[in-house]
C-alpha cells in the first residue's frame, strides 16, 4: 500500500514542480481570469444601448408641435436626436455608421389617419448582429407605442375638454327636466313615470361624464400596467449573472488544457516506455495525474473564487461546501475529458486544437451565451455532454439562487466523470500496449 501511494504521489511533486517552473503561467492562471471578469464588469455596465437617431421630416411645413410629438416620444434608448429633411442624407450617415437609426416621419400623417388608414414610420438601421436587430425592433415598437399613446392621450384630453361644455348642457337639461316634472298635473301617473326615467337617464349620463372628465387621460389610454418581480432573492447585473458561467468555463478550459498536454508530451518524450518497464501501472499513472491536477486546480479555483466574490463583489448566496463540491466535480470531469484528448492526440498541436474546439463548443452549447431552452431538442444532447453545461447550472443555482447543489445535475456530471476516468484508464492501458507491443 505504501508503494502504491508513493507511486501515485510521484506525480504530485513532479507536475507541481513543472508548473511552478513557470511563474508567469501561475500569474496568468490566477490573475488572468480575475482580470477578465473585472474587465467584463467594466465593459458591460447594466445599461441598455442608446441609439443615435436621426428623424427625417421631408415636409418642412410640419408644425413644430407635431415635430415635438415625434421627437420627444422617445425612450431613454434613443439619444443624440437630430432632425433632418433629406432622407438620402440621413441614410448616407447611417451607412457611414455616423448614426444608428433613421426614423422617417410620415409626411401626411394626419390626412392618412383621417382617411381611416394607418400612417407608417419607416425605420432604418445598419446592423448585422441578429441580437442588435432584435433590440432595434424592440426599441422601434416601444417608440411607436409611445407615439400612439401620446396621440391618444392628447385626443382624450381634447375629448375631456369638450365634455365640459356637454356636461354644462346636460346639467341645464336636468334642471329643466326637474322643473317639468314639478309642473306635471297630479294624477297623470304615466307621464310622471316617463319624466322620472328621463331624469334618471340624464343623471346617469351626467355621472359618467363627470367620471370621464375626472379621470387621467393616461389612465384612460393605458388602463393596465405591469409590475414584474422575480422570486429570486436578488436581482443581478449582467456581470453577476455571467460570473458563475465564466468561472466554470475557465476551470473547464484550464483542466482540459493541462490534462490534454500531459500524457501526449510524455508519450512523445518516450518516458512511457520507462513507465511500462517500471512497476507503475496505467491506473496508478492516471490516478496520480488526476489527483495532482485536481489538487492544483482546486487551489487555483479557491483563489479565483475568493477574488471574484470578495474582490468583484459577485453574489454568493449559497453554501460554500456545495459550491466546492460542484467545482470539484467539474474539475474531475474536465480532467477526464482532457486526458481523453491527450490519449487520442498524436501531437501537442492536435491536443491544443481539440481543447480549443471544446472551449468553442462550451461557449456555444453550454448555455453560456444562449439559454438552453431555446436550443433544438436533439442538440441539447451535445450540450449535456459538456461538463460546463452542468457546472454553469450548478454554480448559478448555488451562487445566484442560494439553492443547494442540484442532485440530478450533480449525479449526471459525476456519471460522466467516472465514465471518462474508466475510458481513460482503458485507453492508457491499450495505448501503451499498442505503442510498444503490437507493431
Amino acid at each position: 500500500m505504501l508503494k502504491f501511494l508513493t507511486r501515485i504521489f510521484s506525480f504530485l511533486n513532479k507536475e507541481i514542480a513543472e508548473i511552478f517552473r513557470q511563474p508567469s503561467l501561475i500569474l496568468l492562471l490566477v490573475l488572468g481570469p480575475f482580470l477578465l471578469m473585472f474587465l467584463f464588469g467594466l465593459g458591460y455596465p447594466d445599461e441598455n444601448r442608446t441609439l443615435r437617431t436621426v428623424f427625417v421630416m421631408e415636409d418642412q411645413s410640419t408644425p413644430p408641435e407635431q415635430v415635438n410629438l415625434f421627437t420627444e416620444s422617445i425612450s431613454p434608448t434613443i439619444a443624440e436626436i437630430k432632425v433632418e429633411h433629406n432622407q438620402a442624407d440621413a441614410l448616407a450617415r447611417l451607412a457611414r455608421n455616423a448614426v444608428d437609426l433613421v426614423i422617417v416621419i410620415p409626411a401626411d400623417a394626419v390626412e392618412t389617419i383621417q382617411s381611416n388608414q394607418k400612417a407608417a414610420f419607416l425605420i432604418y438601421h445598419n446592423e448585422v448582429d441578429p441580437f442588435q436587430i432584435a433590440y432595434i425592433y424592440s426599441v422601434s415598437s416601444i417608440y411607436v407605442d409611445e407615439v400612439n399613446r401620446r396621440i391618444l392621450e392628447s385626443a382624450t384630453e381634447q375629448g375631456q375638454g369638450s365634455a365640459g361644455e356637454f356636461q354644462t348642457s346636460l346639467e341645464d337639461a336636468i334642471a329643466k327636466t326637474q322643473q317639468l316634472r314639478q309642473t306635471l298635473p297630479v294624477g297623470d301617473a304615466n307621464l310622471a313615470t316617463q319624466v322620472d326615467e328621463l331624469l334618471k337617464t340624464l343623471n346617469d349620463a351626467h355621472d359618467k361624464l363627470r367620471q370621464f372628465r375626472s379621470m387621467s387621460s393616461s389612465v384612460i389610454v393605458n388602463p393596465f400596467t405591469s409590475d414584474v418581480s422575480g422570486i429570486t432573492p436578488e436581482q443581478f447585473s449582467p456581470t453577476d449573472f455571467f460570473a458563475p458561467a465564466v468561472i466554470v468555463l475557465l476551470l473547464q478550459h484550464l483542466s482540459i488544457t493541462f490534462a490534454s498536454l500531459s500524457i501526449v508530451r510524455e508519450r512523445r518524450s518516450g518516458i512511457m516506455e520507462l513507465f511500462k518497464v517500471s512497476p507503475l501501472t496505467a491506473f496508478e499513472i492516471l490516478l496520480g495525474k488526476f489527483l495532482t491536477y485536481l489538487f492544483f486546480e482546486m487551489i487555483l479555483a479557491a483563489i479565483l473564487s475568493a477574488l471574484i466574490v470578495w474582490g468583484l463583489g459577485i453574489p454568493m448566496l449559497g453554501n460554500w461546501w456545495h459550491y466546492g463540491l460542484a467545482v470539484v466535480i467539474v474539475l474531475f470531469t474536465s480532467l477526464g475529458l482532457g486526458f481523453l484528448i491527450s490519449l487520442i492526440s498524436a501531437t501537442d498541436t492536435q491536443a491544443v486544437q481539440y481543447s480549443m474546439l471544446l472551449l468553442l463548443a462550451s461557449i456555444f452549447f453550454s448555455g453560456f451565451l444562449l439559454d438552453l431552452r431555446l436550443m433544438w431538442k436533439p442538440i441539447t444532447a451535445l450540450a449535456w455532454s459538456l461538463p460546463a453545461t452542468y457546472g454553469i447550472r450548478m454554480l448559478q443555482d448555488i451562487m445566484l439562487r442560494g439553492a443547494p447543489i442540484p442532485l440530478m445535475i450533480f449525479g449526471g456530471i459525476a456519471l460522466i466523470g467516472i465514465g471518462l476516468f474508466v475510458i481513460d484508464w482503458l485507453l492508457l492501458r491499450k495505448n501503451i500496449e499498442i505503442q510498444y507491443s503490437s507493431t
Binding site: 508513493t6 507511486r7 518497464v277 517500471s278 507491443s437
Partner: protein, 323 residues
C-alpha cells in the same frame, strides 16, 4: 549506494531461444538464442539498426515476441509482476526524463514511481555521489551536458537498486574519457553484484565485457568472451614478430609449417610479420626457438591485441562469406 546480492545463486538471469520479432514483413530480431549468467557484464554489440534496442525491449517486456522463448529472472517479461519489475533497471537510449525539473527532482520522481521508501534522501545523495552529480543536483536537466544527462539517467536507473540492469547504448554520443568513466561505473556495479546487459555501437567497448554478443542485421552471430572473439575472428592469437634481418620467403615458409601456426604468415614489412597461433603463451617460446634456428635475430615478439573494430569487421565479413 546499497551493496546488493553478492550471494545470489549462480545461473542465467536471461535466457532466450529462437527469439524473433517481426514488424510486418521486416524481421528486427531473428531467432536469437543466448544466456546471460548472473553477475556478468554482457555486451550486446552491433551497428545502428541491427536489432539491439528491439532485443532489449523484448527482454524488458516492452515488446511481445513474434515467436521464440524468453526468460528474464526466470519469467517471461510479458508476464512480469510489479515485484519482478522492481528487480529491473532500464536506461533508455535517449534522455527521457523531464528537462524542466532539476537533477534532484528527476531522481526523486524516478524513486517515487519505483515505489522507493519516502525516507530516501540519503540514498539519493549517495547515488548522486556515485555518478558525480551531487554538486549539480539543483541544476535543471535541460542545463546539463549530454554526458551529465546520461549519468542522471543512470542514477535514475539505479534508484531502486535493481538486480538486473538493461542499459541501451549508455555511452553513445559522449566523449571517450567519459565513456571510460561509465565503464568504471559499470565495473563497480558488477562488483556490487548487479548483472548488466549493455548495448553499444562502440565495438572497442567489448573489451570491458565478460561476454559479448555480436548482433548483425537482426541475427546474433555469436556470444563469446572478448578474447575468444579475437580468436574466432582471426582463427587464433595474433603474434607480431620483428627481426633485425630481412624475413625472406623461406623463413616464412618454415614458420607456416610449424604445427601450432594457423594459416599464412602476414607480411607487415621486410622485417616484421604477424603470425596466428592457437595459443600465444605456449607459441611464443617455440617461435623464438624457430627464429633462432633460422638465424634470425628477434628484435621483439609479442601477442598483439587486435582492435575490436578489426575483430568486428572480420567477423562480419566471415559471416557474409558463410552466408
Amino acid at each position: 549506494m546499497n551493496s546488493t546480492k553478492n550471494n545470489k545463486p549462480e545461473g542465467n538471469v536471461v535466457e532466450t531461444s529462437e527469439l524473433t520479432k517481426k514488424f510486418g514483413e521486416s524481421v528486427a530480431v531473428d531467432a536469437v538464442s543466448m544466456q546471460v549468467p548472473r553477475g556478468t557484464i554482457f555486451g550486446f554489440i552491433g551497428p545502428s539498426g541491427c536489432g539491439k534496442t528491439t532485443t532489449v525491449r523484448l527482454l524488458t517486456g516492452v515488446y511481445t515476441p513474434t515467436s521464440g522463448q524468453v526468460s528474464v529472472l526466470g519469467k517471461n517479461p510479458v508476464n512480469f509482476t510489479k515485484e519482478d519489475r522492481e528487480k529491473i533497471g532500464y536506461l533508455m537510449q535517449h534522455f527521457v526524463l523531464y528537462p524542466d525539473l532539476t537533477v534532484w527532482e528527476n531522481l526523486n520522481f524516478a524513486a517515487s514511481f519505483y515505489g522507493v521508501n519516502p525516507f530516501r534522501r540519503g540514498h539519493l545523495r549517495k547515488l548522486l555521489d556515485f555518478v558525480e552529480l551531487r554538486s549539480d543536483s539543483n541544476k535543471r536537466a535541460s542545463q546539463l551536458s549530454g554526458g551529465m544527462q546520461r549519468r542522471l539517467g543512470l542514477a535514475a536507473t539505479l534508484v531502486h537498486n535493481p538486480e538486473l540492469l538493461f542499459l541501451d547504448e549508455p555511452t553513445t554520443g559522449i566523449d571517450p574519457i567519459l565513456r571510460r568513466k561509465f565503464w568504471d561505473y559499470f565495473k563497480e556495479l558488477q562488483n556490487q553484484g548487479h548483472t548488466l546487459f549493455i548495448t553499444t555501437q562502440y565495438v572497442g567497448e567489448a573489451a570491458y565485457c565478460d561476454l559479448v554478443g555480436i548482433m548483425h542485421e537482426g541475427k546474433l552471430l555469436m556470444v563469446e568472451t572478448p578474447e575468444n572473439l579475437r580468436r574466432k575472428a582471426f582463427g587464433g592469437d595474433v603474434i607480431s614478430i620483428r627481426t633485425t634481418e630481412e624475413i625472406r620467403y623461406a623463413h616464412r615458409h618454415e614458420i607456416e609449417n610449424l604445427p601450432f601456426v594457423r594459416g599464412k604468415v602476414k607480411m607487415i614489412s621486410d622485417q616484421e610479420i604477424d603470425v596466428i597461433v592457437d595459443d600465444a603463451s605456449t607459441a611464443i617460446p617455440l617461435l623464438v626457438e624457430n627464429l633462432n634456428t633460422q638465424r634470425l635475430n628477434t628484435e621483439s615478439i609479442e601477442e598483439i591485441s587486435v582492435p575490436f573494430d578489426d575483430v568486428f569487421v572480420k567477423l562480419i565479413e566471415t559471416e557474409k562469406v558463410d552466408a
